[in-house]
Amino acid sequence: MMVTRLKHRTVVFVGGGFTAALAARQLTAKDVDVVVLERGIDRTHTAATSLPSQRDELRWDVHGDLFQDWSVQTYTLRHNDGETALPIRRLQAFKPGEGMGGAANHWNGQTWRWSESDPILRTHLENRYGRKAIPAEMTIQNWGVTYAEIESYHDHFEKLFGIAGKAGNLLGKVQEGGNPFEAPRQNEFPQKPLPITEAGVIFSEATKKLGYKPFPMPAANSPEPYTNPDGMQLGQCQFCGHCERFICEANAKASPEVLLFPMLRKRKSFELRLQTHVLDILYDRNARRVTGVRYIDRVTGEEYEQPADVVVLSSFTMSNTRFLLMAEIGTPYNPKTGQGVVGKNFCHQTMSGTRVFFKDRWINPFLASGASQTVIDEFNGDNFDHSGLGFFGGGYIYANVTNGRPITSRAVPPGTPKWGAEWKKANADWYAHNFSITAHGSWYPHRENYVDLDPIYVDAYGQPLLRMTFDIRENERQMSVYLSKKIDEIAKATGAEIAPPTAPRKGPYDSRVYQTTHVTGGTIMGSDPATSVVSPHLQHWDAPNLFVVGASVYPFNAGYNPTGPLGALALRLGDDLNDYVARPRRL
């Protein structure tokens, strides 16, 4: 096929989502030439962002019109090396986005910093529990950068996104009302916390009774109209319950399509090329450099080569890894030998929860936003002593009410028939009177969990699908049992009429069940080229003009949502790229 070679550019981003927009903000502020290639469209002023169609649960949630189109590209799954992977024909387990803004268009806005110990997790656990305490198959490693080194980027990111919350630790001083386990912050959150929900009131009372310290979840749902340091504005959150899986029509959910792309598109050195599907990263093996990318224009069907000085992979976790495997940049991970790095340490999020039902309390689940939640952090990360527990990691536990959407968020007490008059009555009796108490748990890497290229199945362009060899292993199963017991104690303390026991997460890993969109790993960061794909500056070890950003660089997944550190890492990458473009070298 004829491929048209385009004019050379300085920096090309593959994927126009959250991380690309933040890094491009830094670059274009210094007038560095940037092109962002995004396979989807700009949904501003479309049905997705207009009333009343924005509130259509069937279209955006059930049918997933904002998500990656599985008919074009999906993933295959097997639970271990001995099985043949099959394509997940309609994936429910996580929801990658498509379009300007990527998955950050349809996020809930739950915006955490991770623990101070997370970037140095292996060192921290070895110091506290001894070197032998970490099982050989648990391939956790340090990031190669410390929390203190990225704190100012967290601070910057929170101001750009107008994060609402209550500080729990200001410069080492624990603050009443915030998260006492929080990593030290230089500043209070830029906005006050969201108002508490009724579920939050009940959860607070119950957890305080048990001696815990509940606090409001840090939120990218703006409680007030907000103007960020760039002069970009957020509207006021309407608590409509249409955050996750929807784009906020009130511009009240901090997202790249509201705060970043409209500003970037006015900058002279920035270009966004929509409906362009990148096929290949072009790699000169002898020179150990990438030379650009090849893409297909989804409007005309024509193919183009875009030469560039620097290529940044800023697509979803899965695609970042797949691009490297297809271009054969770096050594693919081999679970039998433990050698190789690309595709290593693939992780997800260990979720479990129960529902508490109250006859006389009005929960009104529809009066909520994606992050208007109340949380405890006592059982997250290494905030509690793991001696003798048989697992590492943990999660936050929260009153999980983000919406009252009636198709997917309704719940009835266990034992209710699945249909019929009794089912209808149970829905009428309990719809407004229950909420979920959930543990949002970490997922640490396991030697046998990884991704590679599927040998059989291909996408709509004839390229191999990414294959997950993946299951929930002993560490996460035990952790889930532990967290589920804690949930049950809290559920009991709420005084709910009905509080069924929490079912801990068990295998096999189920593609049919949504478990957050927080898949991580595959192109992990670290200080040692033998055990990481990119350096602590997110620079590829085998091609210094190639950078990778996204949750694919996390060496493990914490019990916190991944967005906060990603914002910090993406801003820092932008500064690093400015440095690199001025003087190309190993950073």
Binding site: P52, E57, P87, R89, A432
Partner: protein, 260 residues
Amino acid sequence: MTNDRSDKTFHPNRRGFLGVAAATGAASLAPGVLMGTAGLAEASESAPSQCVDASASTIASTLPSPLPGYLSLGPSEAGFVEAMVNVMCPADALTPGGVDCGLAAYIDRQLAGGFGKGARLYMRGPWREGKPELGYQLPLTPEQYFKTGLSAADAACRERNGAAFTELDESSANQFLHEIAGGKVTDERIQLASWFNELVYPLFEQACFADPVYGGNVGKVFWKAIGYPGLPAVHSQDMVDFRGKPFPGAADPKSIADFA
């Protein structure tokens, strides 16, 4: 049971149906498409609404008619679906029967539309049976799968019960659906439990609770039943004012059509 004239003209078998069953003592769930509609319509005219309590018929009389006609379903398929949704959603104080709620119309429109034709579904081979956790693995579009399963379920029903599904009384039909959902009814080529639980049942729930613009949940009847206030949901003050209290908007939900 109250029936207005325009309603009967389009689908005489529907609202009259439960009344007919009670009046004739047949207690059959078969809708008119299979049995001939004229007699049923006539029977319903004079039938007292013995099996439906007063509040149910009040709800039915105030609701708009479901979308008339089918785009995807043929007569016998429609018969099965109508009988099924009337069993899964019997007329009671909360809602009229499933057909009157638009549930059959919803399912038909979904099968005829993008979802039914396999939109957003990865449809490349090779095709192999897999563990349940890997999800759907057949080379059929959802519309084809729905109908293949329907036909297999009806064949299994004749074998087990000596009668077509539409000929069962309400309690036997309900029991048969539970047997399918519980994996007790098998077919050589279709796993009927996963067909029902992963395709049919989600369509049923969506039919009840999706925006009425899609053909189900007519008159927002299910939203009213549970107290979901619908759209556009501008709650920044409500969030504070109605924390822990009944929300007045729940009594009068708004849907997409209310803003059209």
